[in-house]
Chain length 99, copies 2
DNA sequence: CGAGCTATATATAACGT
DNA sequence: TACGTTATATATAGCTC
């Protein structure tokens, strides 16, 4: 998206990499916000630059996103590896929640 | 970006919302991957659709991103609220790491 | 440097099937 | 309803200041 087409590989020149990082970081944060609003989704985005600096965006709060992520992952594990008497009822509950 | 300009507000029609969600989700994941590669950044993206389904992308692993996020947040707290004898040495260390 | 400025490359909204 | 298509809106690469 620009004057010339680029190949997606690490930008060697440090200055160019910083400039591109700044521009694209702004772009992806905007996209994340739009997705959250347009589609009523909960979005969490964490980015560490190559210099180690943290940038973040969450449509709600990062804590909320990470907590929910942990719970969702636990559910995935249970469904993939059912090993308790909760299997049947849990599967039913999950399926009924899906669109 | 399309046949018509849209306003960024929640899409009321459920079907349209799902379609837009699917397209934009793909788009933002692509952007996240490109940013990670081009700029040598560590990226973590978590999205919960309005139906509650989880979608995720991490340039490394989500665990790595979340762990690093937690550590970065702790550092931010320490720098913002210095309340220990570690203040001076920690500030020095952090500053020397910045570009 | 960091902040704009276009020309182009991409993403995607509105339609077709 | 889920997939292609394509006209348009956006993002952004390379420059300029």
């Amino acid at each position: 998206m620009g004057r010339g087409k680029i190949v997606i590989r690490r930008i060697d020149n440090s200055t160019s990499r910083q400039v591109t990082f700044s521009k694209r970081r702004n772009g992806i944060f905007k996209k994340a916000k739009e997705l959250g609003i347009l589609c009523d989704a909960e979005v969490g985005l964490v980015i560490f630059s190559s210099t180690g600096r943290l940038y973040e965006y969450a449509s709600s709060s990062m804590k909320s996103v990470i907590d929910r992520y942990g719970r969702a992952k636990e559910e995935q594990q249970l469904v993939a590896n059912p090993n308790s008497e909760l299997k049947v009822s849990l599967n039913c509950d999950l399926k009924s929640c899906r669109s």
